[in-house]
């Protein structure tokens, strides 16, 4: 089963009660707006590697519709990107094993 971690050099800033968070990626010097589910996922993956099931559970718990049968986490983030808030870039997570 694949495990994922955040890309190295990721900074996340979120505020209580808000539905979005800001993410900065050192490598690309880029800034992203993510929803709270994605922020929670990234914060989780920043401290430990996560599986797609854990990601799905995290997103479901936050009320985000994600295809749990998918094994392409980048695709899931892209789904959020295009259909939900349009602001999460694929590539914030990387496959590590």
């Amino acid at each position: 089963m694949s495990r994922f971690s955040t890309s190295p050099g990721l900074a996340i800033r979120s505020w209580p009660g808000e539905s979005t968070a800001a993410v900065f990626v050192d490598d690309t010097v880029s800034t992203h707006l993510v929803n709270e589910a994605a922020a929670a996922l990234l914060e989780l993956a920043a401290v430990q590697t996560v599986t797609i099931e854990e990601v799905s559970a995290s997103l479901f718990a936050a009320g985000q519709p994600v295809d749990s049968s998918s094994t392409d986490i980048g695709g899931d983030l892209q789904l959020i990107d295009e259909t939900i808030i349009g602001l999460v870039a694929a590539g914030l997570l990387r496959r590590v094993e």
């Binding site: 050099g9 800033r13 979120s14 505020w15 979005t20 800001a22 900065f24 010097v29 800034t31 707006l33």
Partner: protein, 312 residues
């Protein structure tokens, strides 16, 4: 004893401007040495920078700039003006009557292109009760009109165009300069504040008709005094709209600030953290308006801590 430009006569001002090392003016944290042989530009400088401190000839200069006629026959036929920085001419010449706007645009370019000791946003900044109101917005949003209206109603001008953020303290650094208005905004502010003395009205610039008025004396008197972040407000003028101030999430505000930053990429993660800290210390709103009187009243109440979610 600091000498101010107002203590020089127009002829003395012209004399300093027309010869090296030029007229050295302190503009907030910066010193510019300005040279121009053009009488109309000299007159505008004398009027619109009259309250600014002069810097002696041996002092440090951040920018040495000039406004001149380009060489060649165009000096005589449809004369033009060109902006010089340290002997270079980085821009194409403009029509001959646009010397003062060109100087202002050139000085803005110097600040946002060279002064990376600050994180710089495209936006106006005002202060009241020690807290800064930041209005980040591109041209055409109504930012300058709103800024001009507020600075006559209890708000101190830090800048109508460039927001300077100190990386060490997160404070907003004043850089008060003549306030630029465009097109219909000139009449709107003239009606609102009939006592304002504008410089020359220049038509058919790349931004339409432009006119400047001098920064208020209060802004110059406190040009050394930064302000703490207080409010981030994303303004939008829309004809006929109600006056509407609505909270916006801090993360979204951060994205707007980043989009309106000139040198965010240079700062990298430090810039991200600076903007995150700024929105963290601020109340953040979107603001739509068409009625300046209502806007002035609403921002007064905002400064008094009572306007969130107000629709009038």
């Amino acid at each position: 004893m600091t000498l101010r430009l107002s203590e020089l006569s127009l002829s003395q001002t012209r004399a300093r401007l027309s010869s090296a090392p030029g007229l050295r003016l302190r503009m907030g944290p910066f010193v510019a040495a300005v040279q121009t042989p053009l009488p109309d530009v000299a007159s505008s400088i004398h009027l619109l920078y009259s309250g600014y401190p002069l810097v002696e000839e041996d002092g440090f200069v951040d920018f040495s700039v000039s406004i001149r006629r380009p060489a060649g026959l165009r000096r005589y036929w449809n004369p033009q003006v060109t902006f010089g920085l340290d002997g270079q001419e980085p821009f194409n010449p403009l029509p001959g009557d646009q010397g003062f706007p060109l100087l202002e645009w050139g000085l803005n370019w110097c600040v946002y292109g060279m002064c990376n000791q600050y994180l710089i946003l495209h936006g106006a900044v005002l202060e009241r009760n020690g807290r800064a109101l930041i209005l980040p917005a591109p041209s055409g949003s109504g930012k300058s009109t709103l800024c001009a209206a507020l600075l006559f109603h209890g708000w101190r001008l830090l800048s109508d165009e460039l927001t300077l953020i100190c990386p060490k303290t997160g404070e907003l650094v004043p850089n008060p300069r003549p306030v630029s208005l465009k097109n219909a905004s000139i009449e709107v502010i003239s009606r609102l504040e009939p006592g304002i003395r504008f410089g020359s009205r220049i038509e058919e610039t790349t931004k339409g008709t432009v006119a400047h008025f001098a920064a208020p004396a209060s802004a110059l008197a406190l040009a050394h005094q930064p302000a703490l972040p207080g409010w981030v407000v994303l303004p939008k003028y829309r004809a006929g709209s109600s006056t509407l101030l609505q909270p916006i999430e801090k993360a979204r505000s951060l994205m707007h600030l980043a989009e309106n930053a000139f040198n965010y990429d240079i700062f990298g993660r430090e810039g991200f953290e600076m903007l995150a800290d700024l929105v963290d210390r601020s109340d953040c709103f979107t603001f739509e308006y068409s009625n300046l009187t209502e806007a002035i009243d609403l921002f007064s109440r905002l400064a008094d801590g009572a306007a969130a979610g107000v629709a009038t």
